[in-house]
């Protein structure tokens, strides 16, 4: 369906893509992952010739679209692009957003285009929003409409550039479930995403982009569970680690807890467990703040590591100062309920100190 060979693109001196060779089969769903600024968007955009590459060829169903003689508008009719920022036509209501291209480009009669649009609205579950304007509906709804707008042109290829990055978890799920439907409909899809659970479950193939090219590719299992190359490994490992630093006794615990919840939900940690993680952290942070930072300002950093699946969650707290082990009191302090609680909840705890740096590890 798509065959890319020797694709290179640079902006001035900045080489973004160099000599990329890549193929996508009909009906395949490919996820593209990678660190920020490695050219994922540029790559996706060049597949639609929104960025014109310096060299290389891009063949869509056998037509090399980098050739000047090709009518790119005709090619794009069969390609849909979904953006992080939705970009619905703000002066048109939802129905007109969907029917505009079929009517103006494919010259469909109004009634026919609207009938089709209503079917698509039903598909994305937004039948009752036909008369709303884009600014009147939520981000997740806008994104579903943006998908419906593409589908109205009956594309064979769909390109997604971080379609859920601007959405909260609930809205993301709505959009992702629509995207799942699309793969079942046999559309060829290329999805740039930070949504690793989607990439893992839905994609047939995962491409890790780095150093201006395809650094590693493979099945989701290969990339997520057995990455072969260094940068992929580091990237995958860092994915399921949550970092947080505290430098003030009046830090915002509510926001912290909210971030933890969002993070854990991404890795399908059960709600009960998320609650435990939050509780453990609260107790430990309060204890550490009370004991180590009563006079000096705090210097605490912690990480939460979620394995994919239902494994053990590991919390690691590092704090500067002389050695202090909250669990180390020889006679357990019966009054300190918090510590007792954590001790009972944890599967294992350990503490070590070296050179004014304490590390506390709690496994849940």
């Amino acid at each position: 369906m798509i065959t890319i060979s020797g694709l290179s693109k640079h902006f001035g001196n900045l080489v973004v893509l160099k000599d990329i060779n890549f193929q996508v089969r009909k009906g395949e769903c490919v996820a593209i992952i990678g660190p920020s600024g490695t050219g994922k968007s540029v790559f996706l955009r060049s597949i639609a010739m929104l960025e014109v590459p310096e060299s290389g060829s891009i063949c869509i169903k056998g037509t090399d679209i980098t050739q000047k003689s090709v009518d790119i508008n005709k090619i794009r009719e069969k390609m849909g692009m979904v953006y992080q920022g939705f970009h619905l036509f703000s002066h048109l209501n939802v129905l007109d957003n969907i029917t505009l291209a079929p009517r103006k480009i494919r010259k469909q009669p109004k009634a026919e285009a609207e009938k089709k649009a209503r079917e698509l609205l039903a598909l994305v579950g937004l039948s009752e929003k036909a008369d709303c304007y884009p600014h009147q509906i939520s981000g997740g709804q806008q994104q579903r409409i943006a998908i419906a707008r593409c589908l109205a042109m009956e594309p064979e290829i769909m390109l997604f550039d971080e379609p859920t990055s601007a959405l909260d978890p609930t809205m993301s799920r709505e959009v992702l479930s629509i995207m799942r439907k699309l793969t079942r409909m046999g559309l060829t899809m290329i999805v740039v995403t930070h949504e690793m659970s989607f990439a893992r479950e839905v994609a047939d193939r995962v491409v890790y982009l780095d150093e201006g090219g395809i650094y590693e590719e493979g099945t989701p299992d290969e990339i997520f569970d057995h990455p072969r190359r260094d940068k992929t490994r580091t990237f995958i490992r860092r994915l399921n680690v949550f970092n947080y630093e505290i430098h003030s006794t009046t830090f915002d615990m509510v926001t912290m807890n909210a971030q933890i919840e969002v993070f854990c939900q991404k890795y399908q940690v059960k709600q009960q467990k998320i609650y435990h993680i939050q509780l453990v952290l609260e107790e430990m942070l309060v204890e550490i703040l009370r004991r180590c930072y009563a006079v000096v300002s705090p210097d605490i950093a912690f990480t939460i590591e979620c394995p994919s699946g239902d494994g053990e969650v590991s919390i690691s707290i590092q704090y500067a100062g002389s050695s202090f082990d909250p669990f180390g009191e020889t006679t357990p302090d019966e009054d300190n309920l918090g510590i007792t609680l954590v001790r009972n909840m944890a599967k294992a705890t350990s503490h070590y100190a070296e050179k004014d740096l304490n590390t506390l590890i709690i496994k849940l």
Binding site: R76, E77, S90, H91, K104
Partner: protein, 226 residues
């Protein structure tokens, strides 16, 4: 109280009825509206052309358009009018009204081109790109997405440009045109009651402004939300 009322009636009679003065006022109003409307029509067309050149890919066209806009916007419309009347068309027999229309088209065109440009630049480029991805060609995307959105953005500024234009036409008396302002001035001078006549003139201009305002709001209602 009664005396005041009588005085007003008297002034009204003196200024507007004697010698069918109201017909002259209507004629003056007609001239003002004619110059405004034609000036606006050609000004908008000229503004569109200027805006197109200003946003053109060619560096030269861009520079020329920029210069023309700067000169026209930077010079008082009355001076422009006098230059056209006393210098450029000095030896021709062209109707001064046509000269006035040219002057106002040039002046308002330069303003309108900038209104159009800033509105077009304010349109979300990503929406245009989204249209291109649906298969729209550049020009088609411009007509379907950029124009209607820019129109909405430009409307309030365009509206005040129109009202400005109407008010500035009051200087055409300098080139022997008897417009609304000149008419009420003449009447005031004849009757020796300049206050009443000039005040009447103000009311007329106010009326025109409101009419413009009303036209615009009907237009925006018809187009619906946002």
């Amino acid at each position: 109280m009664g005396e005041y009322f009588e005085a007003i009636i008297h002034s009204f009679y003196n200024n507007l009825i004697v010698g069918n003065a109201y017909l002259i006022v209507i004629k003056g109003l007609g001239i003002t509206l004619l110059i405004s409307a034609l000036g606006l029509l050609f000004g908008t067309i000229f503004g569109g052309v200027l805006c197109f050149l200003r946003m053109a890919a060619s560096k030269w066209l861009k520079a020329v358009a920029k210069l023309v806009i700067a000169v026209l916007r930077g010079s008082p419309v009355l001076l422009l009018l006098m230059i056209l009347y006393y210098v450029v068309f000095a030896n021709s027999r062209i109707d001064p009204v046509i000269i006035a229309v040219i002057a106002f088209a040039l002046n308002s065109g330069a303003h309108i081109s900038e209104v159009m440009r800033s509105a077009l630049e304010a349109v979300d480029k990503k929406q245009i790109e989204a249209a291109r991805m649906l298969g729209f060609s550049g020009p088609k995307a411009f007509v379907a997405i950029a124009l209607p959105q820019a129109g909405k953005i430009a409307r309030p500024v365009y509206q005040s440009a129109v009202i400005n234009l109407v008010q500035w036409t009051s200087v055409v008396g300098y080139v022997t045109i008897t417009d609304l302002t000149r008419t009420v001035n003449n009447i005031g001078a004849r009757t020796g009651e300049p206050f009443f006549a000039l005040f009447l003139g103000v009311l007329f201009y106010l009326g025109i402004s409101y009419a413009v305002y009303a036209l615009f709001s009907i237009g925006s209602k018809r187009e619906g939300a946002i």
